[in-house]
């Protein structure tokens, strides 16, 4: 099957100008392909560059060299060289990112936050709302909280709102940055089910999971990122 994400020869280092121009190599020669319906889990110790790789795919971090092709419905976009407009469009329609941290927007209710995420992609109001409700239910967010802004929710509740927001849209590629960290067993299982749903829909996923049990269940492949270690400059 044709890959949904093709990463080829990507290298990244930070130049710390405030520390006298110190060069901080992150990764070198990252090459990776992910097919539709496949979930690839990035492994390796903390500090090996797992999160940095996700941030490069999403376009938060720039890359020094190489290509990151994301195949959107209307053709491939090379995130490594795309313009800001192309990246914004790619994120809106094709590329999602789920982290464990919710960047709360004051005064917007949990339900509206999730509906807005689906609406951005073009889903109609009714469909977006029914999907949002079903996700909040599956993630065991108590119904009395749905109409409240999540700023006052517990950490775990905020995290589950954020997961619902990431899963509600039909992105072709999803990046999962420890979405299950610090969730209890019931909710971890709920997230695993959501990931299986996405696989069945043909979504390509790249994730980081510290929980070994979750990792074993969702991973089609585990890629140890230490093999992409940057050679010391």
């Amino acid at each position: 099957m044709a890959p949904r994400v093709e990463i080829d020869g990507v290298a990244k280092s930070f130049v710390m100008h405030l520390q006298g121009g110190k060069l901080l190599p992150v990764v070198g020669n990252v090459s990776l392909e992910v097919a539709a319906g496949e979930c690839v889990v990035l492994g390796g110790p903390s500090g090996a560059g797992k999160s940095s790789i996700l941030k490069m795919i999403y376009g938060n971090y720039r890359v020094d060299s190489g290509h990151i092709l994301v195949h959107a419905a209307d053709g491939p976009v090379d995130v490594a060289s795309a313009s800001p407009r192309e990246i914004i469009r790619l994120r809106k329609l094709s590329l999602g990112y789920v982290s464990q941290f919710l960047r709360a927007i004051p005064r917007v209710s949990a339900l509206d936050l999730i509906v807005a995420s689906a609406r951005e992609q073009g889903l109609d109001e009714d469909k977006a709302a029914s999907r949002a409700r079903s996700l909040l239910q599956r993630l065991n967010v108590p119904e009395r909280l749905w109409s409240l802004p999540p700023a006052t929710f517990s950490g775990g509740e905020q995290q589950r709102v954020n997961i619902a927001r990431g899963f509600v849209a039909d992105h072709r590629v999803l990046l999962l940055d420890e979405p299950t960290a610090s969730l209890d067993a019931v909710n971890r299982a709920a997230v695993v089910e959501l990931i299986f749903d996405k696989k069945r829909q043909g979504v390509a996923m790249i994730g980081i999971f510290h929980d070994e049990d979750v990792r074993e269940r969702v991973a089609d492949r585990i890629v140890d990122v230490t093999r992409f270690a940057a050679r010391a400059a």
Binding site: F14, V15, M16, H17, L18, K55, G59, N60, Y61, R62, P84, R85, I87, I88, R89, I105, P106, R107
Partner: protein, 260 residues
């Protein structure tokens, strides 16, 4: 809202000299419909000079600014005649000043401040003007009972919200904002930012916002231009510039923000 293939505004080689002193130099960019561009930098970086040049308040020493008019034609804004320029500023553009007193008429009522922009483009029906003004006061969360009060009796946050209503009532496609949350209390700032974020997204506005506050840029903008000593030194997607700043000066700016 970013679907259009032609830019709404193009700036090429914008330079403004004050005698021998540089205001801004060689600034070029494209702005598309629905796109929010934040211009960040410290005092004296040239960001306010740039905003003045873009909004025809200050003629550039060199360079061109072109705008796609409602009929689709790209026009050099410094070659419009006075009537065309005034119509543009009154209808298709807005300008939100840091000091609301510069953007409002302090002696006339809140409703009058909003209605005046409508009358300037030909509205004559009193009942409709008042109804539209009330609608906009509601959208910017001003108590409708205050419609006949003058903004000199309003708090800073209310004045700023009224200024926004006055700007948006003519349904502009492009709004310039100069430190719109500057000088307000933090809680008032948060409410205003939240309101602006919602309005910009709902109306699909293109915005050029000048701010020294990176949190404002993060919340509102798609793209950032970092200016220093009159030049654009770094530009890119907002989260990219803030999460992975490349230039020494940008790294200094980002690292200087207090984490709370």
């Amino acid at each position: 809202m970013i679907t259009d293939d032609q830019p709404l505004l193009t700036a090429r080689g914008i330079t403004k000299m004050y005698g021998r002193h540089v205001g801004c130099t060689d600034v070029s960019f494209d702005l598309f419909a629905g796109e929010v561009l934040a211009v960040v930098g410290e005092s004296g970086s040239g960001k306010s000079t740039l905003l003045s040049v873009l909004s025809t308040r200050l003629e550039p020493t060199a360079g061109t600014v072109c705008y796609r008019m409602r009929d689709g034609e790209m026009r050099d804004i410094y070659r419009l005649n006075e009537a065309e320029r005034r119509l543009l500023m009154r209808t298709d553009w807005g300008f939100v000043h840091q000091d609301a007193r510069e953007g409002l008429r302090m002696g006339i009522s809140a409703g009058g401040n909003v209605g005046e922009r409508l009358m300037a483009i030909g509205s004559r029906h009193y009942g409709e003007i008042r109804a539209t003004a009330l609608d906009w006061l509601g959208r910017v969360e001003i108590d409708l009972a205050r419609v006949d009060d003058a903004p000199k009796t309003f708090s800073g946050g209310m004045r700023q919200r009224l200024q926004i209503a006055r700007n948006l009532v003519t349904q502009p496609r492009l709004v310039y904002m100069d430190e719109p949350t500057g000088g307000l209390d933090v809680s008032v700032q948060a409410r205003l930012l939240d309101l602006l974020r919602g309005l910009v997204a709902d109306l699909g506005l293109a915005v050029v916002i000048v701010t020294h506050d990176l949190a404002v840029a993060r919340l509102l903008s798609h793209r950032i231009m970092v200016m220093r000593a009159g030049r654009v030194i770094e530009t890119g997607l907002t989260d990219q510039v803030l999460d992975d700043p490349r230039e020494p000066y940008t790294q200094l700016l980002v690292s200087s923000v207090l984490q709370v």
